[in-house]
């Protein structure tokens, strides 16, 4: 994390792989934080949607990871980081409709292959890095001004 960030708030949520009961709890808390901070409702909705999809990906596809929420006067940042298994072909993963989600996720209404494209659409800046065997990091930024 940069020290010049001027972070006014930073929260860290540990996300357990395969825990569909808790999935969405972190995104819900992030949404409530933003509402309490008086952020514009349309922007709160975009951050909430992207955070929820990011959190679901950690639950569905990763071996476990974390969701990090940061806000400073200029930008809201959401980082989803995990400890593997990583993504082999990022270009393919970004395609609408591409999904390797198991039936357990599909039964709940996920696994349509729309998560990553939707995160990209909601955010002002979208960066994804992944290394097979290591892990994946998705960084989303939302401008406040």
């Amino acid at each position: 994390m940069e020290t010049t960030d001027n972070v006014t708030m930073c929260q860290y949520y540990s996300i357990e792989a395969g825990n569909f009961t808790l999935a969405g709890e972190a995104a819900g808390q992030i949404k409530n934080n933003l509402k309490q901070l008086g952020i514009d409702a349309a922007l709160v909705k975009k951050v909430a949607i992207a955070s929820y999809e990011a959190e679901m990906n950690l639950v569905i596809h990763s071996n476990g990871g974390r969701l990090i929420f940061k806000i400073n006067p200029k930008v809201i940042t959401i980082i989803a980081q995990d400890d593997g298994p990583g993504i082999k072909d990022i270009e393919l993963a970004m395609k609408e409709g591409y999904s390797t989600a198991p039936d357990t996720a599909r039964e709940l209404g996920f696994g349509a292959g729309m998560g990553l494209p939707n995160m990209k659409r909601c955010a002002d800046r979208f960066v994804i890095r992944s290394e097979e065997g290591k892990g994946t990091e998705v960084e989303l930024s939302f401008n406040l001004s």
Binding site: G24, K31, K45, S51, Y52, E53, G109, M114
Partner: protein, 115 residues
Amino acid sequence: MTIQEIINILEADLFCGEDMLNKDILSACGSDLMSDVLAFVKDHTILLTGLTNPHVIRTAEMMDIAAIVFVRGKRPSEEIIQMAADRNIAVLMTRHSLFVACGLLYQSGLRGEVL
């Protein structure tokens, strides 16, 4: 169209959100794919779905969706109703299928997102 009018059109039961009956609804989204719902861009929306798991409520929460209509007479559990009530989301149930429920609302003037 108000939530009360939606209840009348769908001959629906209301499980929570009695204080929201006069809320104005401008659009609807009918889907069992929560990721598709999460990509829906309109506001003042209701969600019609055949799924009754907690992620339907979570999805509605993230989307600021005012009401959820469970179709085909799928009765939500107490846990689901409580979860929705805590988030100020009205919960309805209709015996109609997803297709027919959407059709009845469309016929009455409610619209969706035109892609």
